[in-house]
Symmetry: C2
């Protein structure tokens, strides 16, 4: 395709009512890209959206159909989760993270989106002075929006500026006034695909205990650090988690990416038993329930949606159960993303791009679902706009809380050689015009 | 069974940590009843819980299985709803309520519980001075809890004290300071099963327009006023709705009871086009979106759960579509509840009980999913406790915001002659001991 002109692009942006392309939501970028596709009669390369690019795990679908046939549709699901999902979640966490979380502390939610929103709700209530959430940025933009919705104060730092032992001083600075109720990060990280190292997780855990800041560890892409083989249940190496270093943690495990099950909206919240059982005078008086875990389930989650789709709970239960038994090689299945990322990085590199977030400690980051690219000294906005002109849609790093220049690239939709050839041609043309 | 002693009952209540049985949640009452069943080795009669007592509509289950087979599980559902549910919702509302709501304004939610919680969220934001929600009590206790969670101020009145033209003066008194952002009621009413008359709906609609208070009309039991035949799509009589009398309305239509689909957690929010399209400076600046409807979908619902289980959307779409085509006689199916209610009322009456909320205008209330009973001058607490001693579990009227003495009875679990005989025997024994 001929590159779109500056005028043509700006017109489309104006038509969508987008004020600032770098802070627009992913949804707005999708809509903008669709309008450009329509206007220029050209299919774009979609690197902006994070839909799973592989088939849903069949195990889940079969379990769900079976549950529907058995008659679960007319019965309210238990808000705390059906026994099967609670038990399977406990096994799954032991098998792959080597953490001991009893079934009681495993609770399904309508995706990790609901998990994070409802957990922030109660984390804001538990101790009134703790009114702040700390984001390890860059991160998932929706979680910043959730905090804003709930009126939580926010702090943030760019992980990449404080790696290794430097993280301790930074966290000390951010946590020492005791205002932070929760810290949030995803591991692997969306968008940078960096992983906190064991050294860093230990620091985070120690600081979580020291200042009573509960860690929300978002494992949306659990196991997708393909540099190590985490695929064998109950055998080392285990997937690193802050749960090894503090009792002050809650895991978010979503079926969306690890089982390619985003459509059915299901995740599990896994609370450490210490978090579950803690009593707060504020919660006891507000919810008239004895502890954090029950206030969360019967107070917050009941209010939010009265539980999670019954059949989807059976799907998630069965997938976690089989995975823990070694009968569902889910990590093997998602390795496809790593392969796509490797091919894409090559194409970006050969056309003069660089990886923005490129190292974990001394190691290169893993190939996985996302990575980040920059081009020379182009600003985030400029790069995102210029790529759009060449038919490549991405989201800008500032929208993720990053302080660096570049864009996020999602590999999931790159499911054919044609697309790779198209990407190569687009980036070649881009490079030609941006020497 | 021998009646449980006062001491035995109080011990069980204390063991559950219940402070006040009249304000305990339904869930706590269920747990108390289960513990009594366990302790006394006797099955109780469960009139407390509102699980559908009939099978889920097969149409929904088949549609859902088909959707799963077609591969929807790995794709994020559109937050605004799949086209099929938006179109079917629009048809369904036209067919049974004779209201014109375009597909754009029909949005699925994770049950009406999520609908109400998320709508309250944005109704609190739209105009900062409007910080109060008005409940037509008695009502669904969870909705009061939702308002409390969100920090909304609350007002309420007992419908039964202000029926007919009297309602106008009461609403004038409650609304005239302009603080009320939303009014909430269910029609038929949970727990009283009264229905607002056309005269009353007209008054509510006029007041909603006059004071810009948006009506949340909860149609959880839509069509279950069996005194009239609402079963023919696109033919009068239509189910009464405030939508005939104001543009300031939002309907909540849940699949849980009307299609016996509570397990799958799906409902549709149906906004009047005027509500959907309204612009509020506060929303535009907070969500950076142009109007109420889009702020609700892409701002609030995205944050709450990123949409609704994909397969369940297909189920709801198909059920509404078939119902509107006259191919799914859902009202006929739920008539079973009316039959059960009729039989139960007879048993209560013959044992000296009376219906607490018994009239709509000049008419007796319909037989349906719930009704309310009192016994002589027993207080709500006393009656609920005494019935428990005779193996009958119910919830007290004060927990629903009612100012009257009595308990709520749900007919849904009464699915065998044995249960009716057991109820008769229990109430006979009760009466014998309470002359």
């Amino acid at each position: 395709m001929e590159p779109i002109t500056e005028k043509g692009l700006q017109e489309a942006i104006d038509e969508m009512g987008i004020q600032d392309i770098t802070t627009a939501t992913i949804r707005q970028i999708c809509a903008l890209t669709a309008s450009l596709e329509n206007k220029y009669k050209e299919n774009f390369i979609h690197l902006e959206i994070g839909n799973p690019g592989i088939m849903a795990e069949k195990t889940g679908i079969e379990a769900e159909k079976k549950a529907l046939d058995s008659g679960v549709a007319n019965k309210y699901p238990d808000i705390g989760g059906i026994p099967a999902i609670k038990n399977a979640g406990s096994e799954f966490v032991k098998a792959f993270l080597d953490l001991d979380i009893p079934p009681k502390c495993i609770v399904p939610t309508v995706g990790s989106m609901q998990a994070c929103y409802t957990l922030m709700t109660i984390l804001k209530q538990r101790i009134p002075e703790k009114d702040t959430v700390l984001f390890f940025d860059p991160g998932f933009p929706a979680q910043h929006h959730q905090a804003k919705m709930l009126g939580l104060k926010m702090r943030q730092f760019d992980i990449y500026d404080y790696r290794g032992e430097k993280m301790r001083d930074k966290l000390e600075e951010l946590l020492s006034d005791g205002k932070v109720t929760a810290m949030i990060y995803s591991n692997p990280n969306n968008p940078s695909w960096s992983n906190l190292t064991e050294e860093e997780l230990k620091i985070v855990g120690e600081m979580a205990s020291k200042y009573d800041a509960i860690v929300l560890e978002d494992l949306a892409y659990m196991g997708m650090d393909f540099r190590k083989d985490f695929s064998k249940p109950f055998e080392p190496p285990f997937i690193p988690s802050v749960g090894k270093y503090t009792e002050n943690y809650i895991l978010l495990i979503s079926a969306s990416k690890i089982f390619s099950y985003a459509g059915q909206r299901i995740a599990v919240v896994c609370m450490s038993p210490e978090v579950y059982n803690r009593k707060y005078p504020n919660l006891v008086s507000f919810y008239e329930m004895p502890n954090f875990g029950e206030s969360y389930i019967y107070g917050v989650l009941y209010t939010a949606s009265s539980g999670v789709t019954h059949s989807a709970q059976y799907a998630m239960a069965e997938m976690m159960d089989k995975a823990a038994k070694g009968e569902l090689p889910f990590i093997q299945h998602t390795k496809e993303y790593g392969i796509r990322a490797g091919r894409m990085k090559e194409i970006f590199n050969e056309n003069g791009f660089h990886i923005v977030y490129e190292k974990d400690g001394a190691e290169d980051i893993s190939d996985g679902f996302f990575f980040t690219v920059g081009y020379k000294d182009l600003s985030s906005e400029k790069l995102q706009r210029e790529l759009l002109k060449y038919g490549v849609s991405s989201i800008s790093l500032p929208s993720t809380g990053s302080t660096r220049d570049g864009v996020r690239v999602c590999v999931s939709m790159m499911n054919s050689d044609d697309l790779f050839n198209k990407l190569r041609a687009s980036l070649k043309a881009f490079r030609h015009d941006h020497q």
